[in-house]
Symmetry: C2
Subunit: 356 residues, 2 copies
Amino acid sequence: DHSFDPNEHQHVRYNPLCGDWVLVSPHRTKRPWAGQVERPSQQDPPRYDPANPLCPGVPRPNGKINPDYQSTYVFPNDFPALLDDSPSPPDDGKDDSLFQWGAARGECRVMCFHPHTDVTLPLMTQAEVRAVIDRWIEELEDLGKKHLWVQIFENKGAIMGCSNPHPHCQIWASSFLPNEPRMKDYNQRQYYLNHGTPMLMDYVVREMEKQERIVVTTDCWVALVPFWATWPFEVMVLPSHRHISRMTQLSSQERDSLALLVKKLTTKYDNLFECSFPYSMGWHGAPTGPRLKDFEADKYWVFHGCYYPPLLRSATVKKFMVGYEMLAQAQRDLTPEQAACRLRELPDEHYKLKNK
Amino acid sequence: DHSFDPNEHQHVRYNPLCGDWVLVSPHRTKRPWAGQVERPSQQDPPRYDPANPLCPGVPRPNGKINPDYQSTYVFPNDFPALLDDSPSPPDDGKDDSLFQWGAARGECRVMCFHPHTDVTLPLMTQAEVRAVIDRWIEELEDLGKKHLWVQIFENKGAIMGCSNPHPHCQIWASSFLPNEPRMKDYNQRQYYLNHGTPMLMDYVVREMEKQERIVVTTDCWVALVPFWATWPFEVMVLPSHRHISRMTQLSSQERDSLALLVKKLTTKYDNLFECSFPYSMGWHGAPTGPRLKDFEADKYWVFHGCYYPPLLRSATVKKFMVGYEMLAQAQRDLTPEQAACRLRELPDEHYKLKNK
Ligand SMILES: O=P(O)(O)O[C@H]1O[C@H](CO)[C@@H](O)[C@H](O)[C@H]1O
Ligand SMILES: O=P(O)(O)O[C@H]1O[C@H](CO)[C@@H](O)[C@H](O)[C@H]1O
């Protein structure tokens, strides 16, 4: 039989949001793996560790003592990649097409999700996750007054370079529009100019019709494996009931509904390989600061979340994005449809709570 | 003192070849590291392992027995990501801007560098490295007859997803132009249209004048840390004496000179942290197959090599390209100038051969 089957036959798929392609090679799932395996995630950390600078009441490297916080807690990163008062490079580089540099200013903050070190988002209550969402929005409002881009992101798990087991994320705000949002800004704008509708709202409608890549839904949100996903179990979170361009626009109901979605999605993630599932994730929406009044951007930008988890086959075997991927193009083995199906079919109850 | 010092103060730099930016935060080298450390590279593997399918005389998974090869040895990848006879997706996706896919055809080969498992490029003789270069060129000539893009790449080290310690690389040839070379094709073409000269030849002249980022030179080649490097010790290899657009154009003298450069560069890499330095590397030049007669591309493309090594501080502490880097923009700590200086000052003699 020589008819094309996307779950059998290699092909390329286009990512209209970032403007690049992914190579899909489903037949390659048959490949054996003799390479490096990751260490399984350690024992659960203790609930409270007096030596952990993210715990309530513990001193941080700069000598300040954390308050005895009960919910979320935000403080300036002690080793920020972005400072707000750094001198700018001289202007002479501006016209040199080969040695071009520019000023970078910004602020980096750390946000603890919960006072306990031994919980993660899927193990928190919906109300506790809602408190995290409320705090994200407050931070975005605050940092977004001044900064062009506010990147909220979570590195979860030692494999993702996360150096502290306490549940937390980071917020890096910058005077420049970084590469990824710059591409997304460009591509969403082009689509809007061509179609008169926001790309990702058109996309979510089509995905809800097709029902092939949906993982979880709640009242106002959908989590799906995008048609163009590069990471094995990559997921995108999108508003499903109305166009939202920035996280700050979320109503109280939308926040509750997003809290439920985050809890459900991360529970499925943990259930997939029965481990605390590592990933990097973050939120993207219309730019802020000097572009808060760019009402055109409001029309074409759709607020969304991106989950990039590296695991491929088990709690210890990840997908390496190396040689071909770095030099040529991202490549994936199982198809986005297969990944969505596996996630969708997992229970909604966390494996750690099952026997309680 | 508030004057700008690139080795002290954060800034962004533009990559004119790929069209994106990197955030440079040199003050961040002071950050302590409490996160995941990599396992130091294992004991040296045995010279010959009868169970290793890359060794001479050993059967491969498909039952074929490797010849008793004495130099390089190339064979088809037993688990190829690209097949040459896969059915194509239906055309109906062509006009759908949200669900766009396309045909992907190609071939994947594996190339052993040497019959011995316990050597690597820096430990091979210049003549042996020259044999590798000759074979690369043969393969490029062969696969380039038909395929639009031929990606030669080496994943070195378990940390780079390399699953076999035998010295080898891979060659993936495809019917499509992958993302990275597509961007480089576009940007080199634009530069040529604007300036009438090939971007990377202008660049290499400027770098030879500045002498700030040079790591190693030989008669015909230069290895330097590009102004816009993202990986801590990233290196680019460029022709320094004449414009070369494809690896197949190399004269015998240029091949010898490149063999020497590869040996010197990889020796410095190993000497940096006194370990077998992991990286992904590969070669980029003008496209092939249907574009072999694109004489315009010959004018703007400059053949070059890219080394992307992950280690940052020691043999066991790497740079994680995660959260901010995946969602926003690549970020580096030490500056390209500092990285070049450290590599440049390392001895040309391999640490393992020092006491022999
Ligand atoms: O083909 P290998 O060496 O088994 O696989 C390695 O290199 C490939 C090409 O970069 C990657 O797709 C794989 O993730 C990696 O593990
Ligand atoms: O700031 P952290 O958590 O110590 O550092 C981690 O996240 C950062 C932002 O993605 C990365 O630049 C670092 O490489 C990574 O180790």
